[in-house]
């Protein structure tokens, strides 16, 4: 069967050159970088080199990079590490309502531990207004967290403007760039952020490795305690092969991003144009300020899980923000945050392109999609519009929210 993978926002294949770079560090140069003897020196140097490469991708200094086991851990470290470090200064945190679960769930946990969170609304395209931050800042605000780009709808946030506000008030500013790394130029100096999270497997690096940029002078407490690796900020024997792989991926991204992003964007625009010809379909997110590989559609009257499954039958891998496909049976908080009505929030389809995505793959999707949508709409009780039942009934049944 034909296989067309169009879920690069979920994860990317590891670049063969990355795998190649990792290889010597498994069984050959396997030393523990913390060890004293010269054999471990090779491993230590490899980690240092990777740190320089990852720093280079975002114009940071190598000693501002802390390796973590994932983007998720980097987000947890940023949010909880800042909270615990500054808890005597204040317990108020501001965050956008469209953050990734890695941030949102960390915040929820902090709430249980006495912190107070203000969630910022966003507009219909997913953009958080810098003014909203200004209005939310209090004397006891210790952290502002707004993601660099949204993983579902691809919207790019005005980080620089927000970080400026935070800087003026001397509040730590964190931005989760796990989904934009390798797709958008990120310059931490230019952005003015204090903390920035990265994830390797979203940019053709290996899974299970991420990093947190911590600008010099930013106070943060460790999340994982132990032997004191990573400048005492993240303990645990260094994952040398994966760190090396992340470094290589960063190096490749830095050198090749410009060229592959251009092709991606053209193909993505072509896809959007074609798909919007399907009736009762719209594009979620911002028309321009979005990741170059992201298209997020909304098909009225149908539910996304069935759509994904149908596409899967045709060999196409894509994702949706529908409740049915989520482990919590909650629809995407991003789609509700941008104001999609309840009945529409389930009909989303996220297509994310990769470096190697070909036009014929996109054409294959374009060929498949109208029939699939049409078939599901035939099954749906809602054809040309949601009927009275949707508008005015007391609902029975449906998912139990957990």
């Amino acid at each position: 069967m034909k296989r067309v993978y169009l879920d690069y926002a979920s994860t990317t294949p590891t670049d063969e050159r990355v795998v190649e770079a990792m290889k010597p560090y498994f069984s050959e140069k396997f030393g523990n970088p913390t060890s004293f003897y010269s054999f471990a020196q090779e491993a230590k140097e490899a980690v240092d080199k990777a740190r320089t490469e990852v720093a280079g991708l975002i114009n940071a200094k190598p000693d501002e990079i802390i390796f973590t086991s994932s983007g998720t851990e980097a987000c947890n470290l940023a949010v909880k590490g800042t909270a615990f470090r500054n808890k005597n200064k204040g317990k108020h945190i501001i965050a956008s309502s469209v953050e990734h679960f890695a941030v949102l769930e960390s915040l929820k946990w902090l709430e249980k531990h006495g912190f107070e969170i203000t969630y910022l609304p966003c507009d219909k395209s997913g953009i958080v207004k810098p003014e909203a931050i200004e209005e939310s800042i209090r004397d006891d605000t210790i952290l502002i967290s707004v993601m660099h780009a949204n993983n579902e709808i691809g919207t790019l946030e005005p980080i620089k403007e927000m970080a400026e506000i935070a800087e003026e008030k001397d509040i730590t500013f964190f931005s989760d760039a796990c989904i934009s790394n390798g797709l958008v130029d990120i310059d931490v100096e230019e952005l003015g952020v204090d903390l920035l999270a990265l994830s390797a497997h979203k940019m053709y690096g290996p899974k299970g490795i991420g990093a947190l940029f911590i600008a010099k002078g930013t106070g943060i407490e460790p999340l994982i305690h132990g032997g004191g690796q990573e400048r005492r900020l993240r303990s645990g024997t260094e994952n040398v092969p994966s760190i090396v792989g992340f470094g290589k991926a960063a190096d490749i991204a830095k050198k090749e991003m410009k060229s592959y992003v251009l092709g991606m964007e053209i193909l993505r625009n072509y896809l959007i144009e074609k798909v919007l010809r399907i009736e009762s379909t719209k594009l979620n997110g911002h028309p321009e300020k979005r990741l170059p590989n992201n298209a997020n559609f909304n098909f009225a009257f149908i539910e996304g899980e069935g759509l994904i499954l149908e596409l899967d039958f045709s060999g196409i891998s894509a994702s949706t923000g529908s409740a049915c496909s989520s482990p919590t049976l909650e629809p995407s908080h991003v789609l509700t945050s941008i104001g999609l009505p309840h009945e529409e929030v389930h009909g989303s389809l996220r297509i994310t392109l990769g470096r190697e995505t070909k036009k014929e793959e996109i054409d294959y999707l374009i060929d498949n999609l109208p029939g699939t949508v049409e078939r599901l709409r035939r099954i749906s009780p809602f054809k040309g519009g949601f009927d009275d039942y949707v508008k005015g009934t007391e609902w029975k049944g449906g998912h139990k929210h957990v």
């Binding site: 309840h342 009780p381 609902w395 998912h399």
Partner: protein, 131 residues
């Protein structure tokens, strides 16, 4: 994750579509939660004068499990008298489609509830007619 039977019912739903001259229509579910089912029934009377489900169809907005169990419940109900139809439990539906993932079990409830709602609607209309 889904059984072969369920996938078959999702891809080739039986008794699918609006029924314009239905004797009873059941509407259950919640679009906010991502699943809504409409069940249409035509009612006949058997030799003993007892009402039974002569024809049935459905329309479903929901995931594959919701669509597949909707299709299955119409198959299970067709030809059954009201009592029998109302006794079709959610677990009977789930079993009939070859089992469901745990977090999809509520979908079979939607199907059996939809059927009951259609019978109820028929009864209500009969009462109204009688008045």
């Amino acid at each position: 994750m889904y059984s072969e039977i369920l996938l078959d019912h999702f891809r080739n739903p039986r008794n699918m579509g609006r029924m314009e001259d239905a004797d009873g229509v059941g509407k259950v579910g919640n679009p906010a939660c991502g699943d809504v089912m409409y069940v249409y029934i035509k009612v006949g009377k058997n030799e003993k004068g007892k009402e039974y489900i002569k024809d049935i169809s459905f329309e479903t907005f929901g995931c594959a499990a919701a669509i597949g169990t909707s299709s299955m419940v119409t198959e299970l109900a067709k030809g059954k008298n009201f009592e029998e139809a109302e006794n079709i439990s959610k677990s009977e539906v789930a079993d009939a489609v070859g089992g469901l993932p745990r977090r999809k079990m509520h979908c079979s409830l939607l199907a059996s509830d939809g059927l009951k709602a259609a019978i109820e609607d028929y009864r209500k209309k009969q009462t109204e007619k009688g008045e």
